[in-house]
């Protein structure tokens, strides 16, 4: 009897624990996700990189002429990005801070920036006012945005990275309709510049008025944007995006820039500021195959870019300046060329590029694993960069990405003259 009682108790306990386990298995404590007035989130990142230096490259010579010769540079970067928001009534305050510490074989550096800090007032749905530092993103392109009139340059090797904004004052007004015109949003804003504010947007005291009109018309996103004359030359443009089928999306951007200025180095080493009206545009697509490979292809015409002849002149001058330095010890010409690196040495400084990215979702049934390969071709000089990568997100809140860059190009070409010709990078990012 006692044994039967014990057996019954054991059975009951087992059953109970099984039920508890089943209940625990599918528990959902919604209380943990209640909306709070204050929210904080962010990530910490560690990114070791190793560069194989291109000792024959013009940009290597410009940056390393006064260093002992080296073939490799290792760098480790730690980054912390924290975003917070506080809401009270119709007001919300958002802020994002980003800090980085970097150390390589030659130097260490650190920087901390407030990427965003702005107040939003939303008196009713569809009406919004904003003031403060705001990272605005205009355009439909993935790797480039010719119509991104009010933003810092995007890195086409990492287009999804967050970037610092500018101080703006603006609003947004949205109305929805039944019929072919489904939505209209008007976004006017000011980007004031002075000695204290938005110095890196452009020189002088200007209000820099800008506006964007966005519509969803017959299932097509269309935006028209304008930036008035001020710290930057006046510019206007439009973009669009549309799904042609369930697995094919197309998008494009077009921009006309008045008085675009760029420094140009002459054959004799004299620099001039070339000012002209230019047109930039981009056309692209996103295509998903049956095997869940996503292709992103974009053609970019960079109106502010250098012609092949201009680039060859600059690179030839850098090589000559280096030879002169070796012969005489005089670095004046190298320094002159080095001063123009922010323009000639920026990512994709020439006129015609093709971006191709293919990523495969979870091949071989490996969940959360995404291999991809990205290629950027310079269509003017036929140099290119190839970057295969492996990404894994299987551990909650931890993103791992391993990337390898190989740059190819002949002498006096864009990718052939970069400071490094190989690079490997591991990015470990933990979200909280």
């Amino acid at each position: 009897m006692r044994a039967r009682l014990l057996a019954s108790c054991a059975a009951a306990c087992l059953a109970g624990s099984a039920i508890a386990e089943a209940e625990e298995k599918y528990s959902f404590d919604i209380g943990k996700f209640e909306k709070q007035p204050f929210e904080l989130s962010g990530y910490a990142e560690l990114r070791p990189e190793s560069y194989r230096l291109n000792r024959d490259g013009a940009l290597y010579k410009l940056n390393f002429y006064n260093q002992s010769a080296r073939t490799r540079l290792d760098r480790t970067t730690g980054a912390l990005e924290i975003s917070g928001l506080y809401r009270h009534g119709i007001a919300t305050f958002n802020a994002t801070a980003h800090g980085e510490v970097s150390r390589d074989d030659l130097q260490s550096s650190d920087r901390a920036r407030m990427y965003e800090a702005y107040l939003t007032l939303e008196p009713s749905t569809g009406v919004r006012f904003e003031a403060g530092k705001r990272a605005l993103r205009w355009g439909k392109g993935y790797a480039w945005n010719p119509v991104g009139f009010i933003e810092r340059p995007k890195d086409p090797n990492d287009p999804e990275l967050s970037r610092e904004g500018f101080a703006v004052l603006g609003g947004s007004f949205t109305r929805s309709f039944d019929g072919p015109l489904q939505t209209v949003t008007f976004t006017p804003l000011l980007v004031p510049t002075s000695r204290q504010m938005n110095k890196d947007f452009g020189p002088g005291n200007h209000a820099n008025p800008a506006a964007r009109l966005s519509v969803l018309y017959r299932d097509t996103d269309i935006d028209f944007m304008i930036l008035g004359q001020g710290a930057r030359g006046a510019r206007y443009g439009f973009d669009f995006a549309r799904n042609l089928s369930t697995n094919l999306e197309i998008h494009g951007e077009w921009a006309r820039i008045r008085g675009a200025a760029k420094p140009v180095l002459g054959a004799g080493g004299a620099g001039t500021l070339q000012v002209s009206d230019v047109t930039s545009y981009l056309i692209g697509l996103r295509y998903l195959t049956e095997r869940e490979t996503t292709w992103i292809v974009e053609y970019y015409r960079n109106g502010t870019g250098y012609s092949q002849e201009q680039m060859r002149t600059y690179l030839s001058f850098a090589h000559s300046a280096y030879d002169q330095f070796l012969a005489t010890g005089n670095s004046a010409a190298l320094e002159r060329a080095g001063a123009l690196q922010t323009s000639y040495g920026r990512a994709n400084p020439m006129r015609r590029y093709l971006y191709v990215r293919a990523s495969q979702k979870e091949p071989f049934d490996i969940l959360y694993f995404t291999p991809a390969v990205t290629a950027i071709f310079n269509l003017d000089d036929h140099s290119y960069s190839l970057a295969p990568e492996l990404a894994y997100t299987g551990v909650t809140n931890l993103d791992l990405r391993l990337r390898f860059f190989a740059l190819h190009g002949a002498r006096l070409t864009d990718f052939g003259e970069k400071q490094n010709d190989r690079r490997i990078e591991l990015r470990m990012r933990y979200y909280f």
Partner: protein, 245 residues
């Protein structure tokens, strides 16, 4: 008409599917939709991917839907996904990633979260909006429906749905690709009263012959009617979808 012919016509009439049965099927499907959710609603869901070795990955989503074809789904957890939001208007779909800072139009079949869930599990509209009834049968204790996707914008080309007779709630759905391949089976479980007349399964278990040993589970909470302005379902509002809660 002879007696034999009348009898044959009667038998034929009983055997052949009548247009009326399709209408009944459509009505039934609409009732199933309304029993699952109000036409305009808000809800919370937890998505759990369970791997053969017992490892789990969990996501928490907040969703709002308006009418037949407007929906927003916002990730609340884990932190690596927090703030990601998807807007769907009919076959148009956009994804907002906080770091990117703007909504990006994606192809409607693009998966926005890894694992064995796909968009059809997360951003599904009403079944009657996405599928047409091809076959309807009354069976002991319930109903049986065969559904065909109205467009190619949904992940599953055909569904076979078993519906409980008394509650008119689905108990099991088999999802097939256009090739006829069984992609996954959805099991609706644990009927729960969510209040205000909403009584529906609170757990949806999924298994797939394509991912043997893997299981995914959706747990529903706080389902309720909610009518939002159309201006919420716009690209301009999507980055602030978290303010809807």
């Amino acid at each position: 008409m002879t007696g034999t012919n009348k009898f044959a016509a009667l038998i034929l009439g009983l055997l052949l599917p009548l247009p009326a049965s399709a209408i009944d099927g459509d009505e039934l499907l609409r009732k199933v939709d309304r029993n699952l959710n109000p036409e305009s609603y808000e809800m919370y869901r937890k998505l759990i991917n369970i791997e053969p070795d017992g490892r789990r990955k969990e996501f928490v989503l907040y969703s709002v839907k308006k009418g037949r074809d407007k929906m927003i789904a916002l990730f609340l957890d884990p932190p690596s996904e927090k703030g990601r939001a998807t807007l769907r208007i009919g076959d148009n779909m956009w994804l907002y990633i906080p770091e990117v800072g703007k909504p990006i139009r994606i192809t409607s079949l693009q998966s926005v979260v890894g694992g064995i869930f796909n968009n059809a599990d997360i951003f599904n509209l009403d079944y009657s909006a996405e599928y047409a009834v091809e076959k309807y049968e009354q069976r002991p204790g319930g109903h049986y429906l065969e559904l065909k996707a109205r467009t190619g914008a949904v992940a599953y080309d055909r569904l076979k749905m078993k519906v409980d007779g008394p509650t008119l709630l689905p108990t099991e759905i088999e999802a097939y690709a256009a090739s006829g391949l069984l992609i996954k089976t959805l099991h609706f479980k644990d009927i729960k009263d969510f209040g205000k007349g909403i009584r529906r399964p609170s757990v949806l278990e999924t298994d797939s012959p394509l991912y043997k040993g893997y299981k995914s589970v959706l747990i529903y909470a706080n389902i309720g009617r909610r009518d939002l302005p159309d201006e919420v379902f716009t690209l301009d509002y999507l980055p602030r979808a978290r303010e809807l809660r």
